[in-house]
Symmetry: C2
Subunit: 336 residues, 2 copies
């Protein structure tokens, strides 16, 4: 139906809710678990260590170069599971929709979720939809919560990091932040700024091959690379040293950041991982990452040190050494 | 700090986010899994059938007689897991906060979540916080996603329901709906209208004792008892007959609904369960329910029939028989 919109009654739990579920969600996501349509999903799981991660997505704009809120909502949670060393298996999806959202936009988001989940090999197994009055939310917010299983012997708690471990970033940083910012502010560049939004399921191969030689992984989303390095340094009680010249940044991000007075190291990423790895395995990991399309631009950017504990030091491109702190205040609101 | 409020920077992923997590969430919810503060929670699980359920809570007002959005967010997901036959074990929690929310209100919600989770025996193990600009959400929305394990041999899929199975409701219906409505509209009654919001973990004992003599359970939240009966009738391809006179409704709900022209059978509940049980077990289940404080007002309200398939018939208090349909349109928006 043209000009069809989401109405409050679509969130009533009654007949209209059922129609929305049947015609929009089930059509796109059908699988043997979801189709039972119970109060929750029921599935057989193996024993072992399970990872569970949750994220709400409130990004604006809903559609941006390189993705949309639906793709992002799958990638964000998949990547958090991957960062735990887990193989992502199942996702729940919960929508909060502002009354009046165009049904076509919702369908498009739902389709993009289906495609990304398929690519990542994860199943959407249960969901929830709430609709609030016009003005009580901004179009649509999505929560995804995922579970996955961690192979025997994998332990990515930062406490395992030791001085001398190498730090790898799996590609260029800052792309997602710039894509959102440029879309929002109407900036345009010769090379378009595309979000790096991607589900990093391919890292599963690296985890399987190198096991515990990988000490810790984390995806540098809100707060960017600098914030994640600080988090890990604090949790692992180690020092971190990185070389600015070794951190991959695309020309468009570099140029735009210079112009806007922003720092790519604090800009959000949605398809990158920071990996701490034992020194003797780092070269192999790097070579393998570079052979995978998702992580072809991977680079070693620094290493863990014994001191100063909890602190990140960066050697700038001009050779100066300075403290790289956590993000303070707000950088770009509603980036994810 | 007095007059402290949630700021956009609390959702930045940087220093302010970390402070909010440390000072508000971790303080109230500390446990050995949450305290790891990784991108996701990691825990050992047994093999078997797992249930997973998600719900977002957008209720207004945030605080109401008998509960608040925090208590509700725990009860809602716990009860969905119970309805799957599962023992609730772990919950993720995701907040979407409107900039400017009073920090005291957030603390109070977080405290009430901690208390309800403790009562229900479920652990809050991972979370997420987003903050959006003033006007982009209505104070606070909460998503909870829960997982639990289903004991060997339990199967609550509606397909197991047979003609002759008895239908039990575990207490008076309509209390939550009326509590919210009266608070919102400033109505007051001689007996105050209290929400029935409660985590129904005690039903675990009934599930363990009666096993597969219980055919199906579902909690009648949005859309009320009438909608849930219709859902089950449709999914099980059976008929449902209930006697209005046997459905427990408190005097205050009955009186208020008469006055407001509303039907308690469509009003939301947040601490009730509808149970379909084999006829030969129904009496025992009822007696056991009545001996538990949470379900003391349980009653048999009708039974499953072979026809008319997918339809709910009600014998009214005056003896007339009519079709009890699903909720159409919107009854009370933002009830949960």
């Amino acid at each position: 139906m043209k000009d069809e919109r989401v109405l409050l009654a679509h969130g009533s739990g009654g007949l209209m809710s059922q129609r929305l579920i049947d015609e929009v969600f089930k059509k796109a996501w059908s699988n043997e678990i979801l189709d039972n349509m119970l109060d929750g999903a029921v599935m057989e799981v193996p024993s072992g260590r399970m990872a569970m991660s949750t994220d709400s997505f409130v990004i604006t704009p809903l559609f941006f170069p390189g993705g949309d809120i639906g793709k992002l909502a799958i990638c964000g949670t998949v990547n958090d599971l991957v960062a735990c060393g887990a193989r992502p298996l199942y996702l729940s999806v919960a929508f909060i929709i502002e009354e009046g959202l165009a049904m076509d936009q919702l369908r498009s988001i739902v389709k993009s979720m289906a495609e990304t989940a398929e690519e990542a090999g994860i199943k959407l197994i249960t969901g929830d939809t709430k609709v609030v009055e016009k003005g009580s939310a901004d179009r649509v917010f999505i929560n995804t919560t995922g579970i996955g299983f961690i192979p025997e012997g994998i332990d990515f708690r930062p406490g395992r990091i030791e001085p001398g471990d190498k730090i790898i970033v799996t590609g260029q940083v800052g792309d997602h932040g710039l894509a959102i910012l440029s879309q929002r502010e109407g900036l345009s560049f010769t090379t378009p700024a595309l979000s790096d939004c991607a589900p990093l399921y391919q890292l599963g191969e690296i985890v399987n091959k190198y096991g515990n030689s990988i000490k810790c992984m984390r995806d540098p989303t809100r707060g960017g690379l600098a914030t994640v390095l600080n988090e890990i340094a604090g949790q692992a009680q180690i020092g971190v040293r990185v070389q600015e010249a070794d951190i991959p940044v695309s020309l468009v991000v570099r140029g735009a950041c210079d112009m806007l007075g922003m720092d790519p190291l604090y800009m959000a990423n949605e398809g990158k991982m920071v990996i701490f790895a034992a020194a003797d395995a780092a070269e192999g990991i790097l070579a393998d990452l570079q052979s995978l399309p998702q992580t072809a631009d991977a680079a070693v950017i620094g290493e863990a040190t014994s001191e100063p504990e909890g602190m990140v030091l960066i050697t700038t491109e001009l050779g100066a050494r300075r403290i790289l702190g956590m993000l303070e205040g707000e950088h770009v609101p509603r980036i994810c």
